[in-house]
Protein backbone atom coordinates (compact mmCIF):
# COMPACT_ATOMS: atom_id res chain seq x y z
CA UNK A 1 0.00 0.00 0.00
CA UNK A 2 1.41 3.36 -1.01
CA UNK A 3 0.36 6.57 0.69
CA UNK A 4 1.28 9.94 -0.76
CA UNK A 5 2.35 12.75 1.57
CA UNK A 6 -0.78 14.79 0.80
CA UNK A 7 -2.95 11.79 1.72
CA UNK A 8 -0.99 11.29 4.93
CA UNK A 9 -1.40 14.99 5.76
CA UNK A 10 -5.15 14.77 5.16
CA UNK A 11 -5.40 11.71 7.43
CA UNK A 12 -3.43 13.44 10.20
CA UNK A 13 -5.65 16.51 9.87
CA UNK A 14 -8.66 14.21 10.22
CA UNK A 15 -7.14 12.69 13.36
CA UNK A 16 -6.47 16.13 14.86
CA UNK A 17 -10.03 17.22 14.07
CA UNK A 18 -11.51 14.22 15.88
CA UNK A 19 -9.16 14.57 18.85
CA UNK A 20 -10.08 18.26 19.20
CA UNK A 21 -13.79 17.39 19.16
CA UNK A 22 -13.36 14.71 21.82
CA UNK A 23 -11.36 17.04 24.05
CA UNK A 24 -13.93 19.80 23.67
CA UNK A 25 -16.69 17.36 24.42
CA UNK A 26 -14.89 16.41 27.66
CA UNK A 27 -14.54 20.08 28.62
CA UNK A 28 -18.24 20.65 27.91
CA UNK A 29 -19.25 17.58 29.88
CA UNK A 30 -17.28 18.63 32.97
CA UNK A 31 -18.31 22.28 32.70
CA UNK A 32 -21.97 21.32 32.22
CA UNK A 33 -22.06 19.65 35.62
CA UNK A 34 -20.60 22.76 37.27
CA UNK A 35 -23.06 24.99 35.42
CA UNK A 36 -26.00 22.85 36.53
CA UNK A 37 -24.70 22.83 40.11
CA UNK A 38 -24.66 26.63 40.11
CA UNK A 39 -28.11 26.63 38.57
CA UNK A 40 -29.39 24.77 41.62
CA UNK A 41 -27.40 27.00 44.01
CA UNK A 42 -28.68 30.17 42.33
CA UNK A 43 -32.23 28.89 42.24
CA UNK A 44 -32.23 28.12 45.97
CA UNK A 45 -30.54 31.41 46.87
CA UNK A 46 -32.75 33.62 44.70
CA UNK A 47 -35.95 31.95 45.84
CA UNK A 48 -34.87 32.39 49.47
CA UNK A 49 -34.13 36.05 48.83
CA UNK A 50 -37.43 36.51 47.03
CA UNK A 51 -39.38 34.92 49.89
CA UNK A 52 -37.26 36.19 52.79
CA UNK A 53 -35.40 39.37 51.82
CA UNK A 54 -33.34 38.99 55.02
CA UNK A 55 -31.36 36.36 53.12
CA UNK A 56 -29.93 39.16 51.01
CA UNK A 57 -26.40 40.17 51.95
CA UNK A 58 -23.75 38.26 53.92
CA UNK A 59 -25.87 35.09 54.07
CA UNK A 60 -25.22 34.69 50.37
CA UNK A 61 -21.80 33.57 51.42
CA UNK A 62 -23.03 30.37 53.03
CA UNK A 63 -25.07 29.33 50.03
CA UNK A 64 -22.27 30.22 47.63
CA UNK A 65 -19.82 28.28 49.83
CA UNK A 66 -21.87 25.16 49.07
CA UNK A 67 -21.50 25.97 45.37
CA UNK A 68 -17.75 26.49 45.69
CA UNK A 69 -17.32 23.21 47.59
CA UNK A 70 -19.36 21.41 44.94
CA UNK A 71 -17.33 23.05 42.17
CA UNK A 72 -14.07 21.88 43.75
CA UNK A 73 -15.47 18.35 44.09
CA UNK A 74 -16.56 18.33 40.43
CA UNK A 75 -13.24 19.73 39.23
CA UNK A 76 -11.46 17.02 41.19
CA UNK A 77 -13.74 14.34 39.78
CA UNK A 78 -13.37 15.69 36.24
CA UNK A 79 -9.58 15.85 36.30
CA UNK A 80 -8.08 12.96 34.36
CA UNK A 81 -6.38 10.29 36.48
CA UNK A 82 -3.03 11.26 34.99
CA UNK A 83 -3.76 14.99 35.05
CA UNK A 84 -3.42 17.52 37.81
CA UNK A 85 -6.24 19.27 39.62
CA UNK A 86 -7.12 22.31 37.45
CA UNK A 87 -6.02 24.97 39.93
CA UNK A 88 -6.08 27.66 37.24
CA UNK A 89 -9.84 27.32 36.85
CA UNK A 90 -10.28 27.63 40.59
CA UNK A 91 -7.91 30.61 40.60
CA UNK A 92 -9.95 32.24 37.83
CA UNK A 93 -13.13 31.85 39.91
CA UNK A 94 -11.32 33.34 42.95
CA UNK A 95 -10.04 36.30 40.93
CA UNK A 96 -13.50 37.03 39.57
CA UNK A 97 -14.93 36.77 43.05
CA UNK A 98 -12.26 39.10 44.48
CA UNK A 99 -12.83 41.61 41.69
CA UNK A 100 -16.57 41.47 42.32
CA UNK A 101 -16.18 41.79 46.07
CA UNK A 102 -13.96 44.89 45.71
CA UNK A 103 -16.54 46.58 43.49
CA UNK A 104 -19.58 45.39 45.37
CA UNK A 105 -18.29 46.28 48.84
CA UNK A 106 -15.51 48.84 48.57
CA UNK A 107 -15.51 50.87 45.40
CA UNK A 108 -19.06 50.56 44.14
CA UNK A 109 -22.25 51.95 45.59
CA UNK A 110 -24.70 49.25 44.53
CA UNK A 111 -28.33 49.11 45.58
CA UNK A 112 -29.64 45.56 46.26
CA UNK A 113 -31.18 45.35 42.79
CA UNK A 114 -27.88 46.29 41.20
CA UNK A 115 -25.99 43.80 43.39
CA UNK A 116 -28.36 41.07 42.29
CA UNK A 117 -27.69 41.88 38.66
CA UNK A 118 -23.98 42.49 39.11
CA UNK A 119 -22.83 39.12 40.51
CA UNK A 120 -24.31 36.78 37.90
CA UNK A 121 -23.37 39.07 35.01
CA UNK A 122 -19.80 39.26 36.34
CA UNK A 123 -19.41 35.49 36.23
CA UNK A 124 -21.30 35.25 32.95
CA UNK A 125 -18.74 37.67 31.53
CA UNK A 126 -16.16 35.07 32.54
CA UNK A 127 -18.13 32.44 30.62
CA UNK A 128 -18.22 34.70 27.57
CA UNK A 129 -14.44 35.06 27.77
CA UNK A 130 -13.90 31.34 28.37
CA UNK A 131 -15.71 30.68 25.11
CA UNK A 132 -12.82 32.27 23.21
CA UNK A 133 -10.57 29.39 24.35
CA UNK A 134 -12.79 26.49 25.31
CA UNK A 135 -15.68 26.49 22.86
CA UNK A 136 -18.45 28.73 21.61
CA UNK A 137 -21.04 27.17 23.93
CA UNK A 138 -19.49 29.05 26.86
CA UNK A 139 -19.86 32.39 25.05
CA UNK A 140 -23.40 31.56 23.99
CA UNK A 141 -24.37 30.85 27.60
CA UNK A 142 -22.53 33.91 28.94
CA UNK A 143 -23.96 36.36 26.45
CA UNK A 144 -27.43 34.83 26.26
CA UNK A 145 -28.06 34.75 30.00
CA UNK A 146 -26.52 38.21 30.45
CA UNK A 147 -28.98 39.59 27.90
CA UNK A 148 -31.87 37.98 29.79
CA UNK A 149 -30.66 39.40 33.13
CA UNK A 150 -30.29 42.89 31.67
CA UNK A 151 -33.77 42.61 30.15
CA UNK A 152 -35.17 41.61 33.55
CA UNK A 153 -33.28 44.42 35.26
CA UNK A 154 -34.88 46.93 32.93
CA UNK A 155 -38.38 45.50 32.53
CA UNK A 156 -39.18 42.97 35.27
CA UNK A 157 -39.91 45.56 37.96
CA UNK A 158 -40.63 44.00 41.35
CA UNK A 159 -40.45 40.53 39.88
CA UNK A 160 -36.74 40.94 39.17
CA UNK A 161 -35.64 38.54 41.93
CA UNK A 162 -37.91 35.83 40.65
CA UNK A 163 -36.79 36.59 37.12
CA UNK A 164 -33.20 36.11 38.28
CA UNK A 165 -34.11 32.84 39.95
CA UNK A 166 -35.57 31.71 36.65
CA UNK A 167 -32.69 32.90 34.47
CA UNK A 168 -29.71 31.94 36.62
CA UNK A 169 -31.39 28.94 38.21
CA UNK A 170 -33.42 27.16 35.57
CA UNK A 171 -31.43 28.93 32.84
CA UNK A 172 -28.14 27.47 34.09
CA UNK A 173 -29.66 24.02 34.51
CA UNK A 174 -31.05 24.05 30.96
CA UNK A 175 -27.80 25.46 29.57
CA UNK A 176 -25.87 22.71 31.37
CA UNK A 177 -28.11 20.05 29.86
CA UNK A 178 -27.65 21.62 26.43
CA UNK A 179 -23.89 21.80 26.89
CA UNK A 180 -23.67 18.10 27.73
CA UNK A 181 -25.13 17.36 24.33
CA UNK A 182 -23.13 20.00 22.40
Amino acid sequence: MTIRSDEAAAMLADVEDVVAKVKQSRIYRNAALIIMLWGVVDLVRDILIAIWPAWFGPRWFFIDAVGVAGTIALLRAGASPAGRFPFRILAAFALFYAFGWIWANLLGDFAPRQQMAFWPTLFLFGYALAGLWFGAAFSAIGLGLTALIVAGYVWAGDAFNLWLALVTGLGFILCGLWMRRA
Partner: protein
Protein backbone atom coordinates in the same frame (compact mmCIF):
# COMPACT_ATOMS: atom_id res chain seq x y z
CA UNK B 1 8.08 1.52 10.87
CA UNK B 2 7.54 1.45 7.11
CA UNK B 3 4.08 0.00 6.64
CA UNK B 4 0.63 1.29 7.50
CA UNK B 5 -1.65 -0.62 9.86
CA UNK B 6 -4.19 -2.17 7.50
CA UNK B 7 -6.87 -2.32 10.18
CA UNK B 8 -6.59 1.34 11.22
CA UNK B 9 -5.86 2.75 7.79
CA UNK B 10 -9.52 2.78 6.69
CA UNK B 11 -10.91 6.36 7.23
CA UNK B 12 -13.82 5.48 9.55
CA UNK B 13 -11.65 3.19 11.66
CA UNK B 14 -8.94 5.86 11.76
CA UNK B 15 -11.46 8.35 13.14
CA UNK B 16 -12.78 5.80 15.62
CA UNK B 17 -9.29 5.06 16.92
CA UNK B 18 -8.44 8.79 17.05
CA UNK B 19 -11.54 9.44 19.15
CA UNK B 20 -11.00 6.50 21.47
CA UNK B 21 -7.32 7.14 22.06
CA UNK B 22 -8.09 10.80 22.85
CA UNK B 23 -9.91 9.50 25.94
CA UNK B 24 -7.86 8.71 29.01
CA UNK B 25 -7.17 4.99 29.50
CA UNK B 26 -9.02 5.23 32.82
CA UNK B 27 -12.18 6.62 31.18
CA UNK B 28 -15.11 4.42 30.27
CA UNK B 29 -14.62 5.22 26.56
CA UNK B 30 -17.22 6.61 24.18
CA UNK B 31 -20.71 5.45 23.48
CA UNK B 32 -21.89 4.30 20.08
CA UNK B 33 -23.99 7.41 19.41
CA UNK B 34 -21.10 9.73 20.14
CA UNK B 35 -18.82 7.71 17.86
CA UNK B 36 -21.43 7.84 15.13
CA UNK B 37 -21.45 11.63 15.37
CA UNK B 38 -17.67 11.83 15.30
CA UNK B 39 -17.21 9.50 12.34
CA UNK B 40 -20.26 10.43 10.29
CA UNK B 41 -20.91 6.72 9.75
CA UNK B 42 -24.30 5.01 9.72
CA UNK B 43 -25.28 2.53 12.44
CA UNK B 44 -24.57 -0.52 10.31
CA UNK B 45 -21.36 0.85 8.87
CA UNK B 46 -19.98 1.84 12.26
CA UNK B 47 -21.01 -1.49 13.76
CA UNK B 48 -19.11 -3.36 11.05
CA UNK B 49 -16.00 -1.25 11.55
CA UNK B 50 -16.15 -1.73 15.33
CA UNK B 51 -16.38 -5.49 14.80
CA UNK B 52 -13.30 -5.29 12.62
CA UNK B 53 -11.40 -3.32 15.25
CA UNK B 54 -12.58 -5.64 18.03
CA UNK B 55 -11.46 -8.74 16.09
CA UNK B 56 -8.01 -7.14 15.79
CA UNK B 57 -8.03 -6.60 19.55
CA UNK B 58 -7.85 -2.82 19.17
CA UNK B 59 -11.10 -1.96 20.94
CA UNK B 60 -13.23 -3.37 23.73
CA UNK B 61 -16.97 -3.18 23.16
CA UNK B 62 -19.27 -3.28 26.18
CA UNK B 63 -23.03 -3.64 25.82
CA UNK B 64 -25.25 -2.84 28.76
CA UNK B 65 -28.70 -1.58 29.63
CA UNK B 66 -28.86 1.88 31.20
CA UNK B 67 -32.32 2.96 32.36
CA UNK B 68 -33.79 0.07 30.34
CA UNK B 69 -32.15 1.29 27.15
CA UNK B 70 -29.32 -0.54 25.42
CA UNK B 71 -26.02 1.26 25.54
CA UNK B 72 -22.88 0.27 23.68
CA UNK B 73 -19.62 1.67 24.99
CA UNK B 74 -16.35 1.34 23.11
CA UNK B 75 -12.90 1.73 24.55
CA UNK B 76 -9.43 1.52 23.00
CA UNK B 77 -7.43 -1.46 24.27
CA UNK B 78 -3.77 -1.00 25.24
CA UNK B 79 -2.88 -2.91 22.07
CA UNK B 80 -5.07 -0.54 20.04
CA UNK B 81 -3.40 2.50 21.54
CA UNK B 82 0.03 1.19 20.58
CA UNK B 83 -1.12 0.33 17.05
CA UNK B 84 -2.72 3.75 16.58
CA UNK B 85 0.40 5.56 17.84
CA UNK B 86 2.49 3.52 15.38
CA UNK B 87 0.16 4.31 12.50
CA UNK B 88 0.22 8.04 13.29
CA UNK B 89 4.03 7.89 13.51
CA UNK B 90 4.03 6.19 10.10
CA UNK B 91 1.88 8.96 8.61
CA UNK B 92 4.12 11.64 10.10
CA UNK B 93 7.18 9.89 8.72
CA UNK B 94 5.67 10.02 5.21
CA UNK B 95 5.16 13.78 5.52
CA UNK B 96 8.61 14.38 6.96
CA UNK B 97 10.18 12.26 4.25
CA UNK B 98 8.38 14.06 1.43
Amino acid sequence: MNAPDDVIHQPVRLRVMAALTACDPGDEGLDFTRLKGLTGATDGNLGAHLDHLARAGYVEVTKAFVARRPRTTVKASPQGRVAFARHVAFLKAIIEGA
